[in-house]
């Protein structure tokens, strides 16, 4: 093990992290299931003699979570440092990553703050002192959508594309347009049943189509599920996103402000738009205040309302750390992924948060003395 990895490991032990043994070769199935098929193009796949798909470890979060799930423990913090393998444009495919995953911590605010503080400390350990952090929060965006009174189907679509400005803009265009899905491709009887609001007739028409096509009734979409979405779609077909609501949404997504002003700005934004943001804003405020209390020297904190991750298991607070605001690539990234554990097979919900440092991008210089910890508030939420 290199001196660098040793130094990071001792930092992690110091932060009371368990250091699980995570193999270089990982089963591909859970990774593809959680992150989606698209990640296949960016990882290195292989298969064993029995045809089981394996991949070179593309990251640590999913393997660490699987490890935790297997252990049956309720709460634990894990740290790691090691090589990961990903096909990247203009960067080596084999690179060093280090990070912490905090699984099962119920005091979410405190865990969020600690997560970012640990990321900053790790970067400092590696010789980076001047840092620029952007934070985002999907929960605030979802609160805005909800208090604007948008239908559930629309909220879900927009929520899914949160963090991807181009896709979000395309969604808004579509929802503002005249037609949100025409019904004229449907058979006349089915259309009549929809117009009459006869849910039962719709469902039985679909069920008979399924039977005709010999679709297996036990796997995949059910007639009830299709009928439900069809009725919902019909109800929304004539509805358009009102221009004033769209303006509110766009004004919100444009917010890019110092974190210390964010609470004030969000309050006045919500008041002007007449949309109460309630609990999510309160949570946001507490977290932001706790981050300010850390008094991080040489660290600028900004809130960007449109910043988020498009992976659907990220649910709330997210952040990225750069060496400067104009740096192209982040040195570290992290956030809250409360939905991942259930995706990986956990029977009950399990909150989790974590971060990863791209050690190779940091170009580490090791100092002899351990850095002063950034964290002065312990577990206050």
């Amino acid at each position: 093990m290199t001196a660098l990895a040793q130094r990071i490991e001792s930092f992690l032990r110091h932060r009371k992290c368990a250091l699980p043994e995570i193999g270089l070769l990982q089963p591909a199935e859970p990774i593809l299931n959680a992150a989606g098929e698209d990640i296949r193009r960016r990882i290195f796949m292989t298969a064993d003699q029995r045809g089981r798909d394996l991949c070179l470890r593309p990251e640590f979060t999913i393997p660490v979570c699987l490890n935790h799930l297997e252990s049956g423990k309720a709460r634990k913090r894990y740290g790691y440092v090691g090589k990961v393998f990903r096909q990247r444009a203009n960067e080596p495919a084999e690179f060093l990553q280090a990070g912490i995953e905090d699984i099962g911590a119920e005091k979410k605010g405190a865990a969020d703050v600690r997560c970012l503080a640990d990321a900053i400390d790790m970067l400092r350990l590696l010789g980076r002192n001047r840092l620029s952090v952007v934070v985002g929060d999907q929960a605030i965006f979802e609160a805005v959508l909800k208090s604007l009174g948008l239908p559930k189907a629309w909220r879900e679509r927009l929520g899914r594309n949160f963090g991807d400005p181009a896709r979000l803009a395309a969604d808004l265009d579509r929802l503002s347009g005249k037609s949100n899905g025409s019904m004229d491709h449907l058979a006349p009887e089915l259309r009549q049943a929809i117009e009459a609001g006869d849910r039962e007739a719709v469902e039985s028409a679909i069920a008979s189509d399924m039977k005709k096509a010999a679709l297996p009734p036990q796997s995949g979409r059910t007639a009830a599920e299709i009928a439900e979405r069809l009725m919902e779609k019909a109800a929304l077909a004539a509805v358009r996103l009102a221009p004033e609501k769209r303006e509110v949404l766009e004004a919100f997504l444009d917010l890019d402000i110092p974190l210390k002003d964010a609470n004030q700005r969000l309050w006045s934004f919500a008041r002007r738009a007449n949309i109460p943001l309630g609990k999510p804003l309160e949570t946001f405020h507490k977290r932001a205040a706790a981050l300010e209390r850390l008094e991080l020297e040489n660290v600028s904190l900004r809130y960007r309302a449109g910043f988020g991750r498009t992976l659907d298991y990220y649910t709330g607070f997210v952040f990225e750390v750069r060496g400067g605001p104009s740096d192209d690539k982040p040195l570290a990234g992290g956030g809250r992924y409360d939905r991942l554990m259930t995706v990986l097979g956990s029977r009950h919900k399990m909150p989790a948060t974590g971060f990863a440092v791209y050690v190779d991008r940091v170009k580490p210089t090791l100092k002899d003395k351990a850095p002063k910890p950034a964290r002065q508030v312990e577990a206050r939420s």
């Binding site: 593809l32 299931n33 992150a35 989606g36 098929e37 698209d38 990640i39 296949r40 193009r41 189907a153 879900e156 679509r157 899914r160 594309n161 991807d164 896709r167 579509r174 899905g181 025409s182 491709h185 449907l186 089915l190 719709v202 028409a205 679909i206 189509d209 399924m210 005709k212 096509a213 010999a214 679709l215 297996p216 036990q218 796997s219 995949g220 979409r221 007639a223 599920e225 299709i226 979405r229 069809l230 779609k233 498009t310 992976l311 659907d312 995706v343």
Partner: protein, 235 residues
Amino acid sequence: MTITVALPSKGRLKEKTLEVFAGAGFEVELPEDSRSYRGSVKGRPDIEIAFLSASEIARELIAGKIALGVTGEDLARESVAEADAFLDFACKLGFGGADVVVAVPEAWADVATMADLDDVAAEFRQRHHRPLRIATKYWQLTQNWFADHGIALYRIVESLGATEGAPAAGTADIIVDITSTGSTLKANQLKILKDGIILHSEANLIASRKMRLAKEDRAVLKEICRRVAEAAAAE
């Protein structure tokens, strides 16, 4: 110096290709030994013909082992990510047309577009505890297409034949497949999404971008491309 042109080794694709080449003034002489895969062009000692399978032609062009070839655009684009960096699609030949499409069961009355499919894929895992499954032999095209539409939550189930039967067999929920008339899809109660045409494919004359050619060979290659394009346009 000679330049090697790879042509399909069998079937309608071969016949049609030879027709177009003849129309362009390149009369391909088949090997006398029927087991040989080498041919020539009458009066053109500077051109060599290799008869290969259509998918092999795509691979060899990408690898830069042959300079020019005729194959389906679907195979060429399926064989490598960012095909345009490897291949120069010189001209369409006007035959072998078929579409690579996204098709879902007709019973999915609520799904008419990719946007609908996006909604369905997103909630599929929560409802069924597994991702939406797509049967296809077109990994590359499917991944690119779904990424372009912002859909990540699905899994590909590889299918090497009778893909249209996968939904009824329960091995996949939807398919990405090639179809020329759509009748096989219809017979299997599948419908093509309104904006679900991934590629209008047909036979193409394709030059490799990965092969270095001597100046005179480059000139021959350009001559073939120009004359074949003219002949194909005149058809």
